[in-house]
């Protein structure tokens, strides 16, 4: 219930931004699909839909959900961004839409028909491009048509036209490895578009590119979309980049990861294209999304959010993949900013992706060193002390903070109760396995090892895979 309320409020906020925007907007929404081979669909018709979609992977004693109960409609004429941090199941959701993996329960339907195999109405653009290195650019683009049994001449003509559209004519006989990353992804787009899918699925298509190349490609694609030259009726974009989502999407679906992937909020973005960041409306949407993603819907600033013991457990407070160096760097930066900084601003100035920045934010939060306060990240007293301290003192402050972290505390207390002062990593992995997948458990243990070593709380011996109390602690 609270969830729906949250979604509602954020929608309202975005709508306000839109109202301001519409005052000086000249044309329509810019997303009318004007030309498409299939004429039996009207704008607004549902192309893809999911009902109660659950995906889980087998754990040691029960299935661990990565995606729980997702209801989502993709309508004709819209670009939908699935926005979330790593582990929120957004790529899993995209693959479910593509019919590449099977849902554990619930269903995905294309035009009302439940999928039984690969979705016939979609084509995918991959994060890693997934070009076949032994085929030329043209052969790569033709592959999908060849699979459909299109004759050779027609195939070649269609492929050349698609390459022309993405600005790659003249490159048809090149091999992918001769191209730069941006051009390779253009081939990826041409390959997906040439089969004229009704819904184009994009899995973080720009995240393997450098910032400028990504921007350039994004702009070119949005031009094609706005001109109605896209042979698709709708598109789904998976991304962890808020600005990318706001730049491209008509609708942003935010996926949260605790305890498993689900829709936490939805934003409509009724701004016209081309959208420019730095404009007030654009930034308003970005800030609203940011606030949802950092989980700080209120404007109340907690001075020290260190939770009462027992509130955070290893089940609900996973260790983020944050290095001590990274967190120390961020804390130091906040200290120079007089203890607080706007998150979206910070990310942009540092040229950091959310996937890089947010784990550090989570880490500082878990340690009780910083708290998210509206759009801002604010350093706590302990955090300020940590940031200002010399190497030795920083370690002591960190050790005190690390004791707030459920997994670290669990390891230390377990080791103290163990007669030999050593415990196998498998013990903790089993404990974590009740709540997390094997991969997540391993990642968290790696972070815990890193933090514990730095704090000199315990040591870890890689060969027998054992934790041991640090000499000072023993």
């Amino acid at each position: 219930m609270a969830l729906r309320l949250l979604a509602h409020t954020t929608r309202v906020r975005a709508a306000e931004a839109a109202a301001r925007e519409s005052a000086r907007r000249s044309d329509g929404t810019g997303t009318d699909r004007r030309s498409h081979p299939r004429s039996d669909v009207r704008p607004g018709d549902v192309l893809l839909s999911t009902r109660d979609l659950v995906k889980s992977y087998a754990g040691p004693d029960r299935d661990l959900p990565v995606l729980g109960g997702v209801d989502l409609d993709i309508r004709d004429g819209e670009i939908v961004a699935l926005l979330g941090r790593s582990g929120s199941g957004k790529s899993t959701l995209l693959r479910l839409l593509a019919g590449l993996i099977a849902p554990t329960s619930g269903e995905v339907a294309y035009r009302g028909t439940p999928l039984t195999g690969a979705n016939p109405g979609t084509a995918m653009v991959f994060q890693s491009f997934a070009l076949l290195p032994w085929l030329t650019v043209q052969q790569n683009v033709e592959a999908g048509l060849e699979a459909r049994g299109v004759p050779r001449r027609e195939r070649a003509a269609a492929a050349l036209a698609a390459l022309d559209r993405v600005g790659l004519d003249g490159f048809e006989s090149a091999y992918p490895k001769e191209l730069s990353g941006g051009m390779r992804q253009r081939v990826g787009f041409a390959r997906a578009l040439v089969v004229r899918p009704e819904v184009l699925l994009m899995d973080e298509p720009f995240s393997a590119l450098d910032v400028l190349t990504g921007q350039n490609l994004r702009r070119d694609l949005m031009e094609l979309w706005a001109d109605g030259e896209f042979p698709t009726r709708a598109a789904v974009l998976v991304t962890h980049n808020i600005e990318e989502a706001v730049t491209m999407a008509d609708r942003i679906v935010v996926l949260g990861s605790r305890p498993y992937g689900h829709i936490t909020a939805e934003f409509a973005v009724p701004l016209s294209h081309p959208r420019r960041r730095g404009t007030a409306d654009f930034d308003a949407v970005v800030d609203a999304v940011y606030r949802t993603m950092t989980g700080a819907p209120t404007a109340v600033a907690p001075v020290r959010p260190a939770p009462a013991p027992g509130l955070r457990t290893i089940a609900n407070a996973p260790l983020p993949a944050a290095s001590v160096d990274g967190m120390a760097g961020l804390a130091d930066l906040l200290r120079r900013e007089n203890g607080a900084a706007d998150l979206a601003d910070l990310a942009e100035r540092l040229g950091l992706e959310n996937d890089d920045l947010l784990p550090l934010v989570d880490g500082l939060d878990l340690l009780g060193f910083a708290a998210v306060d509206g759009d801002d990240l604010r350093l706590t007293l302990a955090g300020a002390e940590f940031a200002a301290a010399d190497v030795r003192t920083a370690k002591e402050v960190f050790a005190a903070g690390a004791f707030n972290v459920p997994l670290v505390r669990l390891i230390v207390t377990s080791l103290r109760h163990s007669p030999e002062g050593t415990l196998r990593a498998g013990f903790f992995r089993d404990l974590l396995a009740h709540h997390w997948t094997g991969e997540q458990a391993t990642r968290q243990l790696r972070t815990a090892t890193d933090w514990g070593r730095y704090a000199e709380l315990y040591e870890y011996d890689a060969d027998p895979q054992e934790f041991r109390l640090a000499p000072a602690e023993a």
């Binding site: 693959r95 593509a98 019919g99 590449l100 993996i101 099977a102 849902p103 999928l115 039984t116 195999g117 690969a118 016939p120 979609t122 084509a123 995918m124 991959f126 994060q127 890693s128 997934a130 076949l132 290195p133 032994w134 085929l135 592959a143 999908g144 060849e146 699979a147 459909r148 049994g149 050779r152 993405v166 600005g167 790659l168 004519d169 003249g170 490159f171 006989s173 090149a174 091999y175 490895k177 001769e178 390959r191 089969v195 070119d220 031009e223 060969d463």
Partner: protein, 585 residues
């Protein structure tokens, strides 16, 4: 999109194309003539494989050195046919194992065991069947010889294809299903190219190892009579029998020429060509180069052939749509699947039980099950030889290999030489070694170790060189800078650095040594025959006497030894190597 960018790119693309076409006006002639000569030779030499044959009248070899070119061509043809068969087999077997969860459970352990069965064991067990297949013609013998060579080549190639298919990048699998590739397209557009490099390199290694079995496969004992097919192997065998060192010299020379020529004309171009299947983002700096490949690429008419070929593959691809589309059912019926597993498991178990019971019954009737006792004990003796060989070869060749590999100049000179040495069939040198043994009074029981080592040791040297070459320069500079030298340098730096490569070489060397024991523990030269105590000699003698139960028992026991040695020693070392000592972390 901006127009200026587009047109500029188009021009540079066209320029790149036109430079490729220029130059080499005579190349078309050379390449064309070469192809015609090869075709002519295949027809001429191939005609000799099907002549009438009656087991009662043994075939012999004419040891006139003038026959050697023809013999070499016949041997080469056999190798080529075996290689082609191995490739087809590898793709089919590897594909089946990688695609079917059920078949995988049977095929992969089976491969592990097949790899451990001594090659010569296959020959003696299957030859009668092949002769029955082509009555009254030498084709049966040819087929048996080719099959023996095939068994020396196929297993690791099949394993390479399987492993490459299992390690297929996830997004390529998704791509195939997302674009609804046909199964045929998936095999030829994704899986086969993805496995091409491991397949080519394993094929090259296989062929190198298979030369060793030429002598044994070309001189086959059928119903007590020795039959010899024309070939370099049987020529060498006859020369050894006659005790003619001069003719042995000719055979050795032919062999060296053949190995070098095959490397230059076939493997080098093939490995260079296979570079295009590398799944990497950037162009490699140290790519394989080949003069022959450059020549073929410079010629025009392969391109015209390619155009005709494309029309043909298009047809085949269209016809192969009947194999269906690469898709995975999203909702597998768990009950049906479990029932299928059950039926499959039961069928496999039943087949195995029936086979095992009838085999044991056969052995029981012929000789009693005590037949396994002797080979078990003899296996320990041969095991001692194998272990001694590995230890000595390690102590000798690891330092040498590191010394060579750390210097790019030395490595450039030594690597092709070692490659030829590793391919060279060591049994051609046995007579020379035997002559030394007789002179120096070294017994064959100890000398056998040296004979086995003649073939097996090179794998250790070769891989150690490769390992030393892969040591990053900055690591070496850091060690120099810290003044790490002497034993400490070896213990802390060099040995751990080459360890993973060494283990790979060690596995191959130990497998090769077991295989070699069959020919190295019984050696004949002229009138002299020396026989060592060991499992190899046991199998060799049983084969010579057509004592089928003993051959079976010997081969089975040897396979068990090889599997145990791999499981208990090599696989653990391999795991240690990948976990602790992999440099590419």
């Amino acid at each position: 999109m901006t127009n200026s960018v587009r047109s500029a790119r188009a021009r540079s693309g066209a320029a790149a194309l036109s430079t490729r076409r220029a130059g080499f006006p005579w190349v078309d002639l050379v390449v064309g003539a070469a192809v015609l000569v090869v075709l002519y030779l295949i027809v001429r030499v191939g005609a000799g494989t099907d002549v009438s044959f009656d087991p009662a009248h043994p075939l012999t070899v004419d040891t006139d050195p003038a026959n050697l070119p023809y013999d070499a061509a016949r041997s080469l043809l056999r190798m080529a046919v075996a290689l082609a068969a191995s490739t087809v087999f590898a793709i089919a077997y590897g594909y089946a194992a990688a695609r079917s969860r059920r078949l995988e459970r049977v095929l992969i352990p089976a491969l592990d065991i097949l790899q451990s069965v001594p090659v010569l064991g296959f020959l003696s067990i299957t030859v009668t069947g092949f002769i029955a297949l082509f009555p009254g013609s030498t084709l049966g013998l040819e087929a048996a010889a080719v099959f023996a060579i095939f068994t020396a080549m196929a297993w690791n190639m099949a394993f390479a294809f399987y492993q490459a298919s299992r390690a297929l990048p996830g997004e390529l699998d998704e791509l195939s299903r997302d674009l609804r590739f046909t199964r045929w397209m998936r095999l030829w557009r994704i899986e086969a190219p993805n496995a091409a490099i491991p397949l080519v390199w394993n094929g090259m290694m296989s062929m190198g190892g298979a030369w060793f079995f030429l002598t044994a496969s070309e001189a086959i004992s059928v119903v007590g009579e020795d039959q010899a097919l024309p070939g370099v192997g049987s020529y060498a065998g006859a020369a050894v029998h006659d005790g003619d060192l001069g003719k042995i010299g000719w055979a050795i020379l032919t062999m060296v020429v053949m190995i070098v020529a095959v490397n230059f004309l076939f493997w080098r171009p093939l490995t260079a060509w296979a570079e295009r299947f590398k799944n990497e983002q950037a162009e490699a700096a140290d790519a394989q180069r080949s003069f022959v490949l450059d020549l073929v690429r410079a010629a025009h008419w392969p391109r015209y052939l390619g155009r005709a070929g494309r029309a043909l593959t298009e047809r085949i691809g269209r016809a192969a749509r009947v194999f269906g589309v690469d898709d995975r059912q999203l909702a597998p019926q768990a009950a049906r699947r479990r029932a299928g597993d059950l039926v499959f498991g039961f069928a496999v178990a039943a087949a195995l039980t029936v086979g095992l019971v009838s085999l044991l019954g056969y052995l029981h009737d012929r000789t009693g099950l005590g037949v396994f006792g002797e080979p078990l004990w003899l296996g320990l003796v041969t095991l001692t030889r194998v272990v001694a060989l590995i230890v000595v070869a390690t102590l000798l060749w690891v330092p040498v290999g590191v010394w060579i590999g750390l210097s790019p100049r030395r490595a450039r000179i030594a690597q092709p030489v070692v490659q030829v040495l590793a391919s060279f069939p060591a049994n051609f040198l046995f007579p020379v070694a035997l002559w030394v043994f007789v002179r120096t009074g070294v017994g064959i029981d100890v000398g056998g170790i040296a004979l086995m080592a003649l073939g097996a040791q090179w794998y250790i040297l070769f891989n150690t060189i490769a390992g030393a070459m892969a040591v990053p320069t900055d690591l070496r500079e850091a060690m120099d800078d810290l003044g790490v030298r002497g034993w400490q340098r070896w213990r802390r730096f060099l040995i751990p650095a080459v360890f993973p490569h060494y283990v790979t070489g060690g596995i191959t060397a130990s497998g090769g040594a077991w295989n070699a024991s069959i020919v190295a523990e019984v050696v004949t030269f002229g009138g002299t025959t020396l026989t060592a105590t060991g499992l190899g000699a046991y199998i060799a003698e049983a084969t010579g006497n057509d004592d089928f139960p003993r051959v079976l028992a010997g081969v089975a026991v040897m396979s068990v030894y090889v599997v145990l040695l791999n499981r208990l020693v090599w696989r653990r070392l391999y795991r240690l190597a990948t976990r602790r000592y992999a440099l590419a972390a």
